[in-house]
Each structure stands twice: as structure tokens, then as C-alpha cells.
Amino acid sequence: MISRKIEVLVGSFLLLGFAAILMLMLKVADSQLGGSEDSYRLYAKFDNIGGLKVRSAIKVGGVVVGRVADISLDNSDFSPLVAMDISAKFNQFPSTSSVAILTSGLLGEQFIGLTPGFVDEDEDTVLMADDHIEDTRSAMVLEDLIGQFLYGNSDEE
């Protein structure tokens, strides 16, 4: 029959394997146990989303508050519509907030920067689920910028 030693070794092998999987999940992917947290969805229309991708971060002052859930093209006016899942912890953004597509570093990945607007004392309006954010600024496209720079210079001469 199999000896005790083999049983112990097989047991520790299995434990080691599960420990490795657990380390990959928690330490490397940093996923929280307990599944996805609650979130609510906001929409914003841009003229140009540049290199924004699904699952790009949404940041307020550098703190990640949510992720881009979906990007689609509005068929009526042909502008990109971005759906954003914001963590339910942050549910007090005034409806005058604005969003802009920003770039981390000069050539880094793009994310959405949300700037909270002023709070109107008279009417207490916060952004609710499925609201649209009207005040948006599009992505900075490097080619456009270079083009503006070149043509801007030639105008002055």
C-alpha cells in the first residue's frame, strides 16, 4: 500500500498548488473576495474618445472611482457614447460635474477624469443611475495637436 510519506507529500503538493492560485488571485490580480461591488451607471457623450478602452479607469483627482463599462456609437448623432460604472460608495457627485478624457503621462493609457461641479444649495441634485453627464471634454489627439501647432505657426508668419 502507499506509505504515509507519499500521502503527506501529495497533500502538501495540493496545498502548494492552491496557495499558488490564491497568491495569483489576491497578490497579482488584486481581486477582492466576495465578487463585484455595487456600482451605478452614468453616461457621457464625447466628440472623440481617442484611445479610451472598456475597463479604462475613471478617476476623481487621481483616485479610481469606477471603470468604463461600454463604448458605443450613438446612431442618431454619430458621437461616441461611453457608459461608466461608478462605485456605489461615491454617489454624491453633483449633476454639474464634468468629465474629460485624459492621458497618463505623455503617451500613457487614457482614462476619464471626473471633476465634481459646485453643489447647488437650492435644489439638491446629485447624479443618479442612468444619468447623462452633459459637460464633456474629448480626448487630446496628438496628431491634431501637432497639426494645430504647425498651422498655428504658419499663420503667424
Binding site: I6, E7, L9, V10, F13, L16, L24, V28, A29
Partner: protein, 262 residues
């Protein structure tokens, strides 16, 4: 004219042989996975095979994982430092290990370390008439010999792949942070913000599982189907390593295209 006919005949025979071999492999697996009604008695056999297939492959998997992680880290650093992006080293090491190198290299090592041993063992059992003796005693050799080895392979390889990736990331950390001086906080946090457990870890696990099924199946079939001579066993062992390696690399491309292609 005669030679032409012979060529065509041999081509046809090869095709038929291939189909018959695939059929025998499928029947063998079906026979082995068929419920045998003696579930509890299988546990000691399975533990024995987990030891042979899993525990004994642990050393080579961990050592290779460590060195591969260290090499990716060293190579990645020399490239990334040119762009001032050496803090993304953790992301590069983790993603390349989890998505590709972990499942693929551990499966290749597994085919060489455990697959060849399975083939040789079963081939020798066949050559020494042990399989026929089991049948004489009314014990189904598929249940007694093939099934525990198959399950042991399927349980072991995904675990070995995960251990490979984990040790590789630690090796990458060793070289990148402790030797080359990348900031440890940036190493982990950029890795954590880019690695998704469904997208990367789960898909790597699926790859590992598919490789486990394919490699173990090929190894068992080659052994069970070997010509029972010393030459036949040597040919079967070679065929196991060659065919599983090709199958791993081919399937890896298909799965990568399906998982990450779009």
C-alpha cells in the same frame, strides 16, 4: 506505374492507421472514464499517481519557473529602461507568465517529465504481459491503470502551471526589485492594475487544463498502444514527447486567438 500505386497505397494505409489510432485513443478514454462502481478503491491509486505525476515534477517546474521569471525580468528591464518605463516591469512579467509562458512551458516540461514516464511505464506493463494478467483476473486495466493516471495528470498540471507562474513572478521580483532596483511598490501596483483575474488568470487556467487533458491522453494512449518490444516502447516514448509538444504549441495558438485575439 507500380511505384506510383505503391505510394498511393501506403498513403491510404497511413491515413487509415491514423484514424484507427484516434479511434483506439477515444475508446480507451471512454473505457477509462466510464463509472466503474468502485469509487472509493480508486483513491489510493490516485494518490500514488499524484505523487508520481505531480510531486515528482515539482522540482523541475519550480526551478524552471524561477529562472524564466528572472530572465524575463532581466530582458524586460534592459528594453523598458530605454523608454523610462521600467516600473511597468511587474506588468510585463506577470502578463507574459500568466497568459503564455506559465501554461505552455509547464505543459512542455510536464510532457517531457511525466508524459514520457507514463508512456514507458504502461508500455513496459504491456510488454511484460501485466495488462493481460489483470484481464485474466477480471480486473479492467483501463480502470486500474489508465483512469488514475489520467485524473492525476488533469489535477496536477493546472496546479503545476499556477505554481510555475507564481514562482516566476517571485523570480521576476527578485531580479527586478532586489537586483536592478525597480521600486517594489510600483512593481506590484502596476501589475495589480493590469492583471484581471478572469481575463488573465482564468484563461491561463483553462489553457493549462486543456494541455493537461491532451498531454495525459496522448501519453496514456501511446503507452497503451505501444508495440510490446523494447524498440516499440522507445518509439512510443519519443512519439509522446514530440506529439504532445506539437499539440501544446498548436492548441496554444488557437486558444490565444480565441481568448485574446479580438
Amino acid at each position: 506505374m507500380l511505384t506510383n500505386t505503391n505510394t498511393i497505397t501506403s498513403l491510404g494505409r497511413q491515413g487509415l492507421d491514423f484514424l484507427a489510432g484516434a479511434g483506439r485513443a477515444g475508446l480507451m478514454l471512454l473505457g477509462a472514464l466510464k463509472p466503474s462502481g468502485r469509487g472509493r478503491k480508486m483513491v489510493p491509486l490516485l494518490i500514488k499517481q499524484l505523487y508520481v505525476v505531480g510531486v515528482q515534477s515539482l522540482t523541475i517546474i519550480m526551478v524552471s519557473g524561477l529562472f524564466i521569471g528572472m530572465v524575463i525580468s532581466l530582458q524586460g528591464y534592459t528594453i523598458l529602461v530605454d523608454y523610462g518605463a521600467e516600473q511597468s516591469l511587474g506588468q510585463m512579467v506577470a502578463l507574459s507568465l500568466l497568459r503564455e509562458l506559465g501554461p505552455v512551458v509547464s505543459a512542455l516540461l510536464f510532457a517531457g517529465r511525466a508524459g514520457s514516464a507514463l508512456t514507458a511505464e504502461i508500455g513496459l506493463m504491456k510488454a511484460t504481459e501485466q495488462i493481460s494478467s489483470l484481464e485474466m483476473m477480471a480486473i479492467d486495466p483501463l480502470h486500474q491503470i489508465v483512469a488514475p493516471r489520467f485524473w492525476a495528470g488533469i489535477i496536477s498540471l493546472p496546479l503545476l502551471g499556477a505554481i510555475f507562474s507564481a514562482v516566476g513572478i517571485l523570480g521576476g521580483h527578485l531580479v527586478g526589485v532586489d537586483w536592478l532596483g525597480v521600486d517594489t511598490g510600483a512593481f506590484w501596483s502596476i501589475m495589480q492594475s493590469s492583471v484581471e483575474w478572469k481575463e488573465d488568470i482564468l484563461n491561463g487556467g483553462i489553457k493549462s487544463l486543456v494541455f493537461a487533458i491532451v498531454v495525459t491522453w496522448i501519453a496514456l494512449h501511446k503507452g497503451y498502444d505501444a508495440v510490446p518490444t523494447s524498440e516499440g516502447i522507445s518509439k512510443a516514448t519519443t512519439a509522446t514527447v514530440v506529439q504532445s509538444s506539437l499539440a501544446i504549441l498548436g492548441l496554444d495558438f488557437v486558444m490565444t486567438a480565441l481568448m485574446f485575439g479580438s
